[in-house]
């Protein structure tokens, strides 16, 4: 384990990440989405903190809690509006940079986007109702309105995460690894199950299909086909290139007479008919919600919102105490409350919500688990080469219930398990970069938890914190945001080379007439500059 090897591994990891299609556009999209995410977490967390404070006010009639609740509402209103603006930018960014993805999303998994609109309207109406009506309403109506705001915010998160979860693990995905069987790439896995409409099913020769790893079954009058992602991805790629059936891999699975009949039909049309039929079997509204990683993702995201919000409130009060502004006694009380909430929510986030998320990833995205845990000897692995493989065994126990269960090996994932001749993807493995991002995230989260727990104990024991401790608490929101940022980066980077796993990559999703790298960089700088001034404005007008 020489320093040169470590540096070489890091360089290799970055080169691998950049080798996937459209790195510049992915980077600009990442800025937009991460910025939106930084703000969204407050939208999910601040109303909950306000609700807790309002309930405490209802119980104690202590004005302190009412003031705290009002401050959270004020903060929420401004971050919500900022979030709406960054969300609009992200939405248009999606349409402009990745129009083919938006088209596919609009066709087959539109419902979460559609339903999210009502979540957004719920938020808009009740947030402003609460804000502008605060002084005219009693405690109970305020609690009702705050609960509706929480409903809107969490419902919104759940819908957007349904789309994102589908992108990570689409409905019908059969992974290529279980601890019992080991890797199943040789049998054509991972596969995606689709339903074949009768007019296409009759044209398929099951024996020819089998030669390509496609398993066709018939049950209860429905024809179901499990297709290797090598095939599903190829079909999407062929559709994007305007191929006809006779030019397609489909020609290899059709009966000869059917090929004569369908040969000139476009692959896009056949693919459309298969996907619409699959939607019909599942129910078009529920299809995207059946992604197996959806619910754990929702829990983990909401948990993150609460953690970040609690740390930010604690950090803000620590800053107040450091600056000597406001009533020190009240600030200390608010600090105690928010820090306790931060530590408790971080513990739940790590031990329960994060664990559930990890279980889903272990089961349905084993390649990503292998990359995250650095189960490799090809690259420098923090887990293997620095921590003596202990985390691997721990993960094996948490994921599969046994310390000795084997984890999926990154080195055993075939580089070409999803690719085909002419495909824009050379390396099908998720970028090993996620290992370094993930371990940085986990390390920072552990350090944050331990440090803030110690400070909380100190605060309860001695009733106050020293200047150095307050500086640590004031800096804690930045650390927490970095942890969360890295978590989202692991999810997004870990899905590469795919945009939607097994279906298409950024190469097919991108706008063929988009701007050049320099223009994209300029847009990125412009958006970041606007965000910097906004951050200053929020701090100056809201907090001070």
């Amino acid at each position: 384990m020489s320093p040169e090897w470590i540096l070489e591994s890091l360089r290799g990891a970055l080169e691998q990440w950049a080798s996937y299609p459209e790195p510049e556009r992915r980077f600009i999209s990442a800025i937009g989405i991460e910025v939106h995410w930084v703000i969204l977490q407050y939208v999910m967390g601040l109303p909950l903190i306000s609700l807790v404070a309002q309930l405490l006010y209802l119980k104690t009639r202590d004005r302190f809690w009412e003031d705290l609740a009002w401050k959270m509402v004020k903060g929420f209103v401004i971050v919500f509006a900022v979030g709406a603006a960054t969300g609009t930018a992200a939405e248009f960014g999606l349409i402009l940079l990745w129009p083919n993805f938006t088209e596919a999303g609009g066709k087959w998994i539109y419902f979460p986007f559609y339903a999210e609109i009502y979540a957004f309207i719920i938020e808009v109406i009740f947030v402003y109702f609460l804000y502008y009506g605060w002084r005219r309403l009693g405690p109970i109506p305020r609690i009702v309105l705050t609960s509706l705001v929480i409903l809107g915010a969490w419902y919104s998160a759940a819908m957007i995460l349904a789309v994102n979860s589908f992108m990570v693990a689409p409905t019908g995905l059969q992974p290529a690894y279980t601890p019992g069987t080991g890797p199943l790439y040789g049998e054509g896995y991972p596969k995606i199950t689709l339903y074949i409409p009768p007019e296409v099913a009759g044209a398929i020769d099951p024996e020819r299909a089998k030669a390509l790893g496609i398993v066709v079954r018939e049950s209860e009058g429905l024809v179901e086909a499990s297709l290797p992602v090598k095939i599903t991805y190829r079909l999407f790629w062929e559709a994007s290139k305007g191929f006809t059936v006779s030019q397609s891999v489909l020609a290899e699975v059709l009966k000869p007479n059917a090929l004569e009949e369908l040969g000139e039909a476009s692959v896009a049309k056949v693919l459309d008919s298969i996907l619409y039929y699959t939607l019909e079997v599942h129910d078009p509204l529920l299809y995207p919600l059946k992604s197996p990683v959806w619910l754990p993702s929702v829990g983990h995201a909401i948990g993150s919102g609460v953690v970040i919000s609690a740390y930010t409130v604690a950090g803000a009060y620590a800053l107040r105490l450091l600056r000597g502004s406001g009533d020190a006694k009240r600030s200390l009380r608010a600090l105690r409350f928010s820090l306790a909430l931060a530590v408790a929510s971080l513990a739940i986030q790590g031990a329960v919500l994060g664990h559930e998320q990890a279980l889903a990833i272990a089961k349905y995205a084993p390649e990503v688990l292998a990359a995250m845990e650095g189960v490799t000897d090809e690259y420098f692995s923090i887990s293997r080469h620095l921590l003596l493989g202990i985390p691997e065994r721990l993960v094996a126990f948490l994921a599969y219930g046994s310390f000795s269960a084997p984890l999926p090996s990154y080195d055993q994932i075939p580089v070409d398990y999803c690719s085909f001749p002419d495909s824009p993807i050379v390396d099908c493995r998720p970028p090993i970069l996620v290992h370094y991002l993930y371990y940085t995230k986990v390390g920072m989260a552990l350090a944050l938890g331990v440090a803030t727990l110690a400070l909380l104990v100190k605060l309860y024991r001695w009733g106050s914190l020293g200047r150095r401790d307050l500086v640590v608490v004031a800096a804690s929101p930045l650390v927490a945001q970095t942890v969360s940022f890295l978590g989202w980066a692991v999810r997004e980077v870990g899905r590469k080379p795919f945009t939607v796993y097994g279906l298409f990559t950024p190469a097919e999703a991108a706008n063929p007439v988009g701007p050049d790298t320099a223009s994209l960089a300029l847009v990125g700088v412009y958006l970041l500059a606007i965000l910097a001034v906004l951050g200053w404005a929020v701090y100056r007008f809201l907090w001070r």
């Binding site: 401004i78 509006a81 900022v82 709406a84 969300g87 609009t88 930018a89 939405e91 248009f92 349409i95 402009l96 129009p99 938006t102 088209e103 999303g105 609009g106 066709k107 087959w108 539109y110 419902f111 986007f113 559609y114 999210e116 609109i117 009502y118 957004f120 309207i121 719920i122 808009v124 109406i125 009740f126 947030v127 402003y128 109702f129 502008y132 009506g133 002084r135 005219r136 305007g242 000139e264 476009s266 896009a268 049309k269 619409y276 078009p284 509204l285 706008n511 063929p512 007439v513 988009g514 701007p515 847009v523 412009y526 958006l527 606007i530 001034v533 906004l534 404005a537 007008f541 809201l542």
Partner: protein, 386 residues
């Protein structure tokens, strides 16, 4: 057209109708409030500064509501007509990019200007006010240039049915229907805002403030009429649309969908506004307060009526210039031409949205939420009870 297509078009028109009224008020306020505030200081008339703040407070309270209905429109369009949205993303990439860049700037300037009121130095505050006005004027330039492209495409090279090149300047600014459409839109925003603000002020007994708005309102309404006529003239090369608007009045050819009645309604609403304002100028805002309410009501209907006229006069086509579309389709093999033609009309919604559950869900959610919005508006803007 079948039931699901009718419903899709209804939801699109409905969300856009609400969005456009709130957005027009927002543009008007963003231009007028900073000017009023700066003038109030120079003229030593603090009541004008208070009026500017009132306008701004209204905008801050309704900004997100306007935005959310705009988002709803985009999502409906994406859900019902995904292939068209994909095409639009390629054809109008730079037009949208201008609008987004300005939305970000507008939001920043609104936040700083609103929350910085009384907290920032005059010079800095006025600078953000100027940014607020400028960005409010440039957002519609981006979006209207998209509408102009939907009249007739400029600066977009299409080969074998695929967009292969976009000339940024031509696509964003080179469309002959853009200048009148843009000027008309901005003038309409200012007319609506001044008329509504005058009516609101007179209703609240602030007659001097109401009086201040009347002559500018008349001037903006005159500009709307002139730019409207220019826009109509600019559409003469887009036969299908021109005939649908003017054909029923004996101008142009036979209309496929006669919407001359909507044009006539718009003209009548315009006349009602002009007459009511002229009456209020002559009799004073106190005696003319009822007339001002009529003018405000007419103004609130005129804006969506104008938008519906512009949109439905090219119905069922997303791109009104039929000869251009025919040229593009002729380059393609029949099966691809058929698919592209389908994507360019509103006649066939995304098959996955053919669900009654979806529309019942939309109806219930929209009704409940609009009722809540009305309660919100009543509680915060009208009711004085605590």
């Amino acid at each position: 057209m079948e039931g699901f297509e009718r419903l899709a078009v209804f939801w699109l028109a409905f969300s856009f109708g609400i969005h456009i009224v709130l957005v027009n008020l927002g543009i008007g306020v963003s231009v007028i409030a900073p000017m009023l505030k700066a003038y109030s200081r120079r003229a030593g008339r603090p009541e004008l500064g208070e009026e500017a703040y009132r306008l701004l407070r209204f905008y801050a309270a309704t900004y997100a509501l306007g935005g959310v209905f705009g988002t709803a429109f985009t999502v409906y369009l994406l859900s019902f007509y995904p292939s068209f949205v994909s095409l639009l993303g390629k054809m109008a990439l730079y037009n949208f990019a201008l609008a987004i860049a300005m939305i970000a700037l507008h939001f920043l300037s609104l936040t700083v200007y609103y929350y910085g009121w009384g907290r920032l130095g005059d010079r800095v505050h006025d600078a953000f006010g100027a940014l607020l006005a400028l960005s409010a004027l440039l957002i519609p330039l981006g979006f209207r240039s998209v509408f102009a492209q939907l009249n007739t495409l400029e600066g977009v090279e299409i080969l074998a049915g695929r967009v292969v090149r976009v000339d940024v300047v031509e696509a964003v600014l080179g469309n002959p229907t853009l200048p009148p459409l843009y000027i008309k839109s901005v003038a309409a925003s200012l007319a609506l805002t001044t008329v509504a603000a005058a009516a609101w002020a007179s209703l609240k007994g602030r007659y001097e403030i109401a009086r201040m708005y009347l002559k500018p309102a008349l001037a903006f309404l005159t500009l709307v009429a002139l730019a409207g006529a220019w826009y109509g003239w600019s559409l003469r090369t887009v036969e299908y649309k021109f005939n649908n608007i003017f054909g029923g009045l004996g101008l142009g050819g036979e209309p496929q969908l006669d919407l001359s009645w909507l044009l006539a309604l718009k003209v009548l609403l315009w006349i009602a506004q002009v007459s009511a304002i002229a009456y209020a100028i002559a009799r004073g805002p106190r005696r003319g307060s009822k007339a001002l309410l009529v003018a405000a009501g007419a103004a609130l209907v005129t804006v969506p009526a104008g938008e519906m006229l512009n949109a439905f006069s090219q119905y069922p086509y997303f791109i009104a210039d039929r000869s251009l579309v025919r040229e593009v389709l002729a380059q393609l093999p029949p099966s691809e031409a058929e698919a592209l033609e389908r994507a360019l009309t509103l006649l066939e919604v995304n098959a996955a949205t053919r669900s009654w559950v979806l529309h019942i869900y939309t109806l219930i959610a929209t009704t409940v939420l609009l009722a809540a919005a009305a309660l919100y508006a009543y509680t915060t803007l009208i009711s004085r009870k605590t």
